[in-house]
C-alpha cells in the first residue's frame, strides 16, 4: 500500500465553521491531489499540488483552499463549511518519470475522510 494517511477519518461539524483535512505521505512523491466523492458524481478533483508551495485548482475548487509547505503534507481547508460540502474526501499521490514526454503514472489514494456538515 502507498504510504498515505488521511486525518481525521471522520468528522462532524456545523455550518460556518472552518475545517482542515490533512494528507500525509511517506513516498516522497511530487504530486498530491484532493478529490471529493459524492453519489452520482464519481470522484471530482478539488485542488492539486505539483510541488512544495505549488498548487492549482481542479474541477470543484470553489469554497476550498489548500497548502503544501512540505513535500509530505497537503492540507485541504474549508474556510466556512456548508452543507453542500458534506462528502467523502480522498487524497491521492503520484510521481511522473522525466523525459521528452513525461510518462503518466497512476495515482494512489488514501482511505478517505468522511465529513458531515450539519
Amino acid at each position: 500500500d502507498a504510504g498515505i494517511t488521511q486525518s481525521p477519518r471522520h468528522k462532524v461539524t456545523e455550518t460556518g465553521t472552518p475545517v482542515t483535512l490533512r494528507c500525509h505521505q511517506t513516498e516522497n512523491h511530487r504530486y498530491m491531489y484532493w478529490y471529493r466523492q459524492d453519489p452520482g458524481h464519481g470522484l471530482r478533483l478539488i485542488h492539486y499540488s505539483y510541488g512544495v508551495k505549488d498548487t492549482d485548482k481542479g474541477e470543484v475548487s470553489d469554497g476550498y483552499s489548500v497548502s503544501r509547505s512540505k513535500t509530505e503534507d497537503f492540507l485541504l481547508t474549508l474556510e466556512s463549511a456548508t452543507s453542500s460540502q458534506t462528502s467523502v474526501y480522498f487524497c491521492a499521490i503520484s510521481e511522473s518519470w522525466g523525459g521528452e514526454i513525461f510518462s503518466n503514472q497512476p495515482q494512489h489514494f488514501g482511505d478517505g475522510t468522511r465529513l458531515s456538515i450539519l
Partner: protein
C-alpha cells in the same frame, strides 16, 4: 458535461464467468486510461492502465481493451471471483508534456457483484 461515462450503474455475474465493464469517453485528447477498484470505507485502488498507443493491456485476470475510434474502453475480469465485488471506476487523462502529472477525470463508477 461528462467526459468519462460509465452508463451501467451495476453488473451482476456468476463466479467463474467473465465480467465486462464498459466505459465511454468524449474527449479526444485523452491518451491514458485507468481502472480503479473501490471497496466500501476504503480508497480507490489502482488496477490496470492503458496508453492510447496500445489497444490491449493484460495483467493476470484483468485485461483492458481500448477502441480509440469508438472512444470506448472495457475491463474484462476472467474468471470473476466473489472478492471482485466492488465499485469500479474508469478514469482518463490528457497528454503530459510539461512534467505536471496529468489530472484524472473519473466516471461515476459501476458496482460489480459476483455471485458465488
Amino acid at each position: 458535461d461528462q467526459q468519462v461515462k460509465q452508463n451501467s450503474p451495476s453488473l451482476s455475474v456468476q463466479e467463474g464467468r467473465i465480467s465486462i465493464l464498459n466505459c465511454d469517453y468524449t474527449n479526444s485528447m485523452f491518451d491514458y486510461f485507468l481502472w480503479y477498484k473501490k471497496y466500501p470505507a476504503e480508497g480507490p485502488t489502482f488496477l490496470i492502465s492503458i496508453s492510447s498507443i496500445k489497444d490491449k493491456n493484460e495483467d493476470g485476470r484483468f485485461t483492458v481493451f481500448l477502441n480509440k475510434s469508438a472512444k470506448h474502453l472495457s475491463l474484462h475480469i476472467v474468471p470473476s471471483q466473489p472478492g471482485d465485488s466492488a465499485v469500479y471506476f474508469c478514469a482518463a487523462s490528457e497528454p503530459n508534456y510539461t512534467g505536471a502529472n496529468s489530472k484524472l477525470t473519473f466516471g461515476k463508477g459501476i458496482t460489480l457483484s459476483v455471485r458465488p
